[in-house]
């Protein structure tokens, strides 16, 4: 028990439950990967085509980027897995503080005085 080498390769076969879980996970990964490719190409097309006006394209792309970041964190970086409660807490509270700060700064630095 005591002298376990953490970098040693795993031995034996995975259980049925583990196999099922891995299979599910692989499917989610592929689905989210395809979806993210779709989002990326949408963003590209928004800029590439002349049909969509700029004042719509910029906020739209930013929104897509936000979705992409969240998907990246939850599906590829496994923040949705169990035992990541604190990571979620820290990440979102950090984002909240940063967003609030930036929002306040955009209002109070400038020509207009409030």
């Amino acid at each position: 028990m005591s002298h376990v080498d953490p970098s040693a390769p795993l031995e034996g076969k995975p259980s049925k439950a583990t196999e099922r879980k891995l299979k599910n996970e692989a499917r989610t990964q592929i689905v989210s990967f395809v979806f993210m490719i779709f989002i990326t190409s949408t963003a590209f097309l928004t800029v590439a085509s002349d049909v969509i006006p700029t004042h719509f394209a910029i906020p739209f792309i930013l929104m897509l980027a936000g979705v992409q970041v969240v998907m990246q964190l939850y599906y590829f970086m496994h923040m949705n897995a169990k035992g990541n409660g604190w990571i979620n807490v820290m990440l979102w509270s950090g984002m909240f503080v940063a967003a609030l700060t930036v929002a306040a700064l955009t209002v109070i630095i400038g020509e207009t005085k409030f």
């Binding site: 953490p6 820290m90 630095i109 005085k113």
Partner: protein
Amino acid sequence: MSNSSTSKKSVLWDWLTTVDHKKIGIMYFFGGLFFFTIAGLEAMLMRIQLMFPEMSFLHEQTYNEVLTMHGTTMLFLAAMPLFFAFMNFVVPLQIGARDVAFPFINSLGFWLFLFGGLLLNLSWFTGGAPDAGWTAYAPLSTTSAGHGLDYYIMGLQVSGAGTLMSGINFLVTIVNMRAPGMSMMRMPLFTWTTFVTSMLILFAFPALTVGLLLLMMDRIFGGAFFDVAMGGNVVIYQHLFWIFGHPEVYILILPAFGIFSEVISTFAKKRLFGYSAMVFATMIIGFLGFMVWAHHMFTVGMGPIANAIFAVATMAIAVPTGIKIFNWLLTLWGGRIRFTVANLFALAFIPSFVMGGVTGVQLAMSAADYQFHDTYFVVAHFHYVIIGGSVFGIFSATFYWWPKMFGYRLSESLGRWFFWLFLIGFHLTFFVQHFLGLIGMPRRVASYLDGQGLNEMNFISSMGAFMMAFAFILLVINVFVSRKNTDDVQDPWDGRTLEWATTSPVQEYNFAQTPLVRELDAFWHEKQFGDGRMKAAEPLDDIHMPNGSILPIIITTGLTVASFGVIYSTWSIIILGLLINFGAMFVRSIKEDHGYHIPVSEIKREQGEGK
């Protein structure tokens, strides 16, 4: 290298390479104390200069440098490292862990702090220290002559990187390394405040890093972020600095709150009153700490609505702080209070800090702040909260945890002299400064004219400062003369938390068997309802320990060399420094290092000796 027991090393090499949280804590303590002494001497120089009107003890330029370095050193290099000392030493013990989560990073954080601090203080010998105040507002800082401000920028960047690492390290340690049964709501209050403080560090220090980076660009690489003529904006620097700076003052006070919670409940022999309210108050203070930065900038001209919002948010902080004050009072209520030196500091903290808090609410009224701004009233306010809060906390913790850290008790009688002299000196120095400010003495100015009613109070203030300095000398003497008090050091205060369940001095592996925590105040619970010893959560087994490493010093040296290159804009030195830095990081990454094991036989032998 892997799985082998380390051979005996020389003492010096052992301390240079250690990754043991206790040794790093002790090094933080002495590092912090060193800078505390330097910054204290700078304060004395200022008080001598201000003792009489129109003194010429210090040249104006020198006064500006001393003033800047006093503030910068006290906050970044004295108060924070001293808290880190106790956090490092105590938190793993309080949660029943063998070490912090990342021992190597811990060591790296310490050396970055030390080298950053030395780099900053080196500026005294290379043609002048920074002279733009600890805030280094642009454009004063961007146009300051000489290399002083460059040392400020690089010194704080290096030590700030270390602080950020330590903060992350504590977060991971507290989330992941708690002993079985130690749920979040069973953690001692000092561990809780360390946790919230580390969150503040994690979120606040990046703002400082960005502010300093922009300053560096402007000063050294010809940027124009704060150059109004080129379309820059100087007010953005103030915002960036205070977005960091306000959480920073809570980084300085929250650990002290934790220390007082431990000390007061131990010496009142009572469980802390309103534990969960204390925890939530800590979190709310931490949260509000990010919402109030602009109250440092009321007179910048942000406009009435912005001022009003930040004023109200600032006043809201009085609510959770008030909750804490009342909880401490109610912990004392009906307790069997022992007036040890540690507790004296905690008891003196309550009224002193409340006075600082009251002037804080006064300053929060933005309309009135136009009157107070940049006067000695502000100086009095923040010294009341920083000395009456943080420094009292540090001294309280020093007396409280000294037996655990060094294996002997500090003398109580000499300690009482120290306490009373320091307390009286402190109030003498800063109480009169409220009135100096109200009658219009501006802060940060090297002298004042005769016949303006400022003479007497300035003289009283300087005398108080001498008393504090003398008291501090008594503390240093105490450290040396108390070395014989080696009896009753394991649990001298009849402690409540897990650190008192270890031996004194603490064994390298802290706990031979990870303890099982059954209640809040785990050790006290076992004393009352168990057999007075912690129950083990695991069988006695070989203990896996991390290997020491010299790499943190090499990485830090590389970064310091590169900083010199930046200060003197010499590319060859920058590249050399970064090569050393990344080279050492590379070695760390590819070298396999699994640590070593302490065999059961050795643990049993040491346990036998312990009894």
